[in-house]
């Protein structure tokens, strides 16, 4: 059983700053940088500290997303409710809709981490039928 | 032979002349109604309606034919109620069967804010002559037993609504034809396949039109070109607060007629009625992206069908026959724009957007009076183009966003 049962609120750090300053940030050890927009970066998990070469950078704990990990074997099922085509290369980060809910997806060799706005997470759980098999 | 084959109307097509007192550009409902009322009410018959396709080829032949006056602001209720009244007399007046059917409209809401809104609607309606009443869920059930009051397992529970007994439908093509024939019988020329490509001007004054069949001089030019108004008005140097958006609709196959009222839910985003031939006719809001495209989208079928089958479960098994789109002249305040433009000799009747079929009789009647008397009638004075300069807009988005 490779499908998650639910989305869990994700802990992360959000950095909005001048694009050049975000370009220079290195991936933390074992962590992930998700570039949501040229001026917008999500760091997973929240680093102890982070240097941003922009005095006006907004660096904030991010509690607005819920996330769940789907194994590779689940990809076809997710693709079938997506109007856009998943990337073939890994790792790759993509943003779009799944089952009509806005998501961010981080593709990896082993599967995909799906991030959804926490305020909509229950809809995606329902639409993907998560937790049903557990019942 | 089916009972709907046109067996009354007869057109007498004439040759295009080089000059008319009044040239109306656009052979949709509004252009033809203006011509019809000029001829029948004011004896003005040296009039030509120039239509680039066939008459009714624009939105007047593509709409979902809902006629109602249950608007949210006094000016609109008054105007549309006039049109509702004229519609109910149109068959008698023209002697033509337009399939006018007063079937009533149920406008459903799903929550307290919506309930308050529909109560407010019924108040302003009654104050200005429309018979809309607030209805409880139990009354909804009596008027339309097919509605699932606990729609979506309660997610879209019906908390009430407004009911407008006056609301009706009529066959769109037949309205167009009855008006065209009535005008032609009195001497008005209606020309199909006559596209206006430019305007003739003398100084600041518009003096006629250029067509793909040559120039035509006119005492007055009236633009009634529906979704294509921005281009024509630009030729006269008039800028209009209009954006063009597609609006889609679809019908199912034919079923024995038994579904009476028009049912709408703005909250869920669809409306439905059964046509005289028995098709279920469904529509929703405009496409968000401005465009002149007549292409349909599959998403439209989906986003219109889902709420429909949720609120009216019997629809689930009906088969979809055909979908289509029209392009609508959406004014910023979702109210029509009628009358003077500030350019001599150039009038408009526009901004009919997704709501203009119901306005055809009154719109034409009032425009004709304006042309004949050279004075703006009181009923449409609030709808003048000037309102945008004078900051007297007629916003009424809650009355026509989803149901047209």
């Amino acid at each position: 059983m490779s499908a998650p049962e639910r989305f869990e609120r994700l802990e992360a750090t959000r950095i909005v700053a001048a694009p050049g300053a975000l370009d220079e940030i290195d991936s933390p050890d074992g962590g992930r940088l998700l570039r949501l927009a040229p001026d917008d970066l999500l760091v997973l998990p929240p680093p102890e500290r982070v240097e941003v070469a922009d005095p006006y950078a907004i660096i904030e704990p991010e509690a607005g997303f819920s996330a769940a990990w789907f194994d590779r074997s689940e990809l076809a099922r997710l693709q079938a409710v997506s109007g856009w085509e998943f990337p073939v290369r890994c790792p790759e980060f993509a943003q779009g809709h799944l089952a009509g809910v806005p998501v961010k997806m981080l593709f990896d060799e082993g599967g995909v981490l799906v991030l959804v706005p926490a305020v909509l997470a229950h809809h995606l759980e329902e639409r993907l039928g998560l937790g049903e098999r557990a019942e | 032979m089916n009972e709907f084959i046109e067996a009354q109307v007869s057109f007498g097509w004439e040759d295009l002349r080089s000059s008319y007192d009044v040239v109306i550009v656009g052979g949709g409902g509004h252009g033809l109604s203006t011509a019809y009322h000029l001829a029948t009410r004011h004896g003005i018959t040296n009039v030509a309606v120039l239509e680039r396709g066939y008459i009714g080829s624009g939105n007047s032949g593509r709409n979902t034919t809902i006629i109602r006056a249950n608007y949210g602001i006094p000016e609109a209720v008054r105007f549309y109620q006039r049109s509702v009244d004229l519609y109910s007399r149109l068959e008698e007046e023209t002697g033509r069967w337009i399939m006018h059917d007063r079937k009533g409209l149920l406008w459903l809401v799903h929550g307290t804010p919506g309930t308050r809104h529909e109560r407010a609607r019924s108040i302003v309606n009654q104050a200005f002559g429309a018979d809309t009443v607030y209805v409880t869920p139990e009354e909804v059930r009596q008027i339309c037993p097919d509605v699932d009051l606990n729609a979506g397992g309660g997610e879209f529970r019906v908390t009430g609504g407004s009911y407008s007994p006056h609301a009706a439908t009529a066959r769109h093509d037949r309205v167009v034809w009855a008006l065209a024939e009535g005008a032609m019988k009195r001497g008005v020329h209606v020309h199909q396949r006559a596209a206006v490509t430019g305007l003739l001007k003398s100084g600041d004054r518009v003096t006629g039109v250029l067509t793909d069949r040559g120039p035509v001089a006119a005492g007055v030019v009236v633009s009634a070109v529906g979704g294509h108004v921005s281009t024509l008005a630009a030729m006269a140097g008039v800028r209009l607060p209009i954006r063009t958006h597609p609006l889609q609709a679809f019908v199912t196959n034919h079923y024995a007629r038994s579904f009476r009222p028009i049912v709408a839910s703005a909250g869920m985003g669809f409306y439905v009625s059964q046509t005289p031939r028995g098709e279920m006719l469904l529509g929703s809001a405009i496409d968000r992206q401005p465009s002149y495209s007549y292409r349909s989208s599959y998403e439209f079928l989906s986003y219109c069908s889902l709420p429909a089958v949720t609120l009216l479960p019997f629809l689930r098994n009906l088969t979809i026959l055909r979908q289509w789109a029209g392009v609508c002249d959406m004014s910023v305040d979702m109210s029509p724009i009628m009358g003077y433009t500030g350019v001599d000799g150039f009038l408009v009747t526009t901004g009919w957007g997704t709501w203009g079929f119901k306005g055809i009789p009154a719109g034409g009647e009032q425009m004709a009076e304006l042309i004949a008397t050279d004075r703006t009638p009181e009923l449409i004075a609030p709808f003048s183009l000037n309102r945008f300069k004078e900051d007297r807009l007629l916003f009424d988005p809650g009355s026509t966003g989803t149901t047209h």
């Binding site: 409710v81 926490a118 809809h123 | 046109e6 292409r295 019997f314 098994n317 979809i320």
Partner: protein, 729 residues
Amino acid sequence: MIDFEGTQVPFEEGDTVLTAVLRAGLWPWGGCLCSEGDCPYCLVTLEGVSYVRACRTPAVEGLKVAPHPSGGYPALPSSTPPPTGESAVGFEMVHCDTVVIGQGRSGRKAAAEARERGRRVVTLEARAGREAVGVYPGPEVVARTRDGMARIFSAEVVVATGSVELQPVCPGNQLTGILTRRAAERLAASGVDLGRAVSVGRPPEGVDCQPARGRLVRFEGEGTVERVVTVDDGTGAERTYSCDTAVVGLGSGPRDTLARMAHGLPGASSVGSAAGCLDRPPVPEEGVVCPCSEVTADDLRSVWNRGFRELELIKRSTLAGTGACQGAVCMPHVRSFVAAGGQELPPSFTARPVVTQITMGEAAAGWYHHPDRRTALHDEHLALGARMERSGGWLRPWTYEDADREYWAVRTGVSICDVSTLGKFLVSGPDADAFLERIYPTTITPLRPGRAKYVLALDERGYVFDDGLVCREGANRFLLTATSAGAGHFEMWLRDWAEAWGMDVRILDRTGSWGAINVTGPLSGELLSRLGAADRLPPFMGHTDMEVAGVACRVMRLSFTGEISYELHHQASRSRDLWRALMDSGADLYVWPHGLEVLEELRLEKGHILVGVDSLPDSTPRRLGHGWAVRMDKADFLGRLAVARTSRMELDKVLVGLEVDGDPPLQGAILRVKGDYAGFVTSSTWSRVLGRSVMLAWLQARDGGFGGDIMIDGRPARRVALPFYDPEG
């Protein structure tokens, strides 16, 4: 066995309902069957779904089939809601490079070629249960398969749908026992006994039948075809052929509805017969032309003579081509009819989806209702018995089913309210001050860190579309709030203007990341001090960062309710802890949450407007009585030009506060002055604390002023200054 109207019909592997029924010796359908899904003759009702073609339906055990009613339409299905647990329609989105519609010779060839080019190919073939429904911009092809609906997104669409055989138009063409040439071939091959078959035109292959010579004139018989009559065009002599089955090979035309739909879409093409020409049929003279709408050749002539002289006008005035087969049968003949009137063969009318009739239930598959957002406290509200309502795209507690308790908790004790839905935005950057000065109509720069200010948001037309607070966090950093309903749009709006003006700012939406709980009531300070916030609480319109119950909060002191209020902004991951701590520690203060219903009463008593409820889309600050929130001495701000222009005009309507004795008038109740319409009520409530009804209303100017006695529902209304409650604050 399948159940055909009570008759048990056996079937074999590979049978459709059509082949099984015909083989069983039943022939319940009139008209010339095509067996290819084009004609409207073999319609049946299947498991409650009408307008299903028997030739497209595989026979399966136990299937219940009813023939289409003759001379009428099927009844609307019953209104009973679907049984729960019923299996939903399958749905899938598919991504590929090439879709080939139709797997005849040219379709197979196109698919093979595409595969050779290394393309990922999806093929559709109606006969194999994979039917194209329509081609849409994208390009997107929608199909119905035996598993449900599929939306196929692809770079290329190849339409290879082949040809349609022409139908006979002549007297007797609605009799039973007529087949197209290809139908005869197919049915004979699947073992249907055609009896004595006579063919006109091109004869079928592999079917034992007698070819009739000459041109088809009519079919004769009682219900069933008994004779085929032809004429020799040279001599004018008629010949009659007796038969059990008549087979017509009258030529064909492209099956091009999908091709025409696809035409003009990038990546779309058509191949083979679908791209071919129509064998122009003779001008229809007699007989049914359009079977779906029962339009005869006489009918066509009749409307023509009435001046309906275009294909579209003929279609619309007779309804030919608008029935179940969407013109597949009649269109070639109607086009030929129009051409006989001296015109060229007109193009077919616009091809419209759908070509395969799907049910509305099928169309709804894969679609979802617009998702309501839920705050992190959703479950807490439910546990407290809240009734939830949709509001501004959120599900929010309307009441906790005891409005009295909610109200008095605020006015006399302490209450909490989940206001997480508030729009919350951080703005930082060297241009932050300059940016907000230009965004808002009030002065921003003098605002000190730790202080907040009420602001209106104006559009370019000078109309109020939102309101909120600006809080300064530091030299170049602000927190902005917006209404719950406006929040979704607000970030885009800020970013658009920052970009348009080239302002160096960073903008971050915190709406979903931060929860917010408003603690309000005379005892709110007491409750907060118990949770560790005693001496550091901010002054009115101030904000401080501190821990409350161990949760890091930005505490803002405001008063929307008319009582001392502290809004606690915090990480949404901690909302529940904070909420529970407030409820638990306040138990002996009788803390109780309030919902939107009571909040509306409270704010109304305090005279606060709700943008979107009390404001109209054309509300200028002046009309709203909010002129004080606009500083015209500022050089520039959004909407300034418009405000300057409109403020020179005579004021035509204003939002006013009114009171009446007795019950509150409804929202929308009409104001009258001397019997004339003078405006309407936007919000109203019975004020528990004041003992009268208070409301906001739009009052229209009369004779340039706002005087005169106002009546509402026949009761006198008093115009009063706002706020109604606690004017001294």
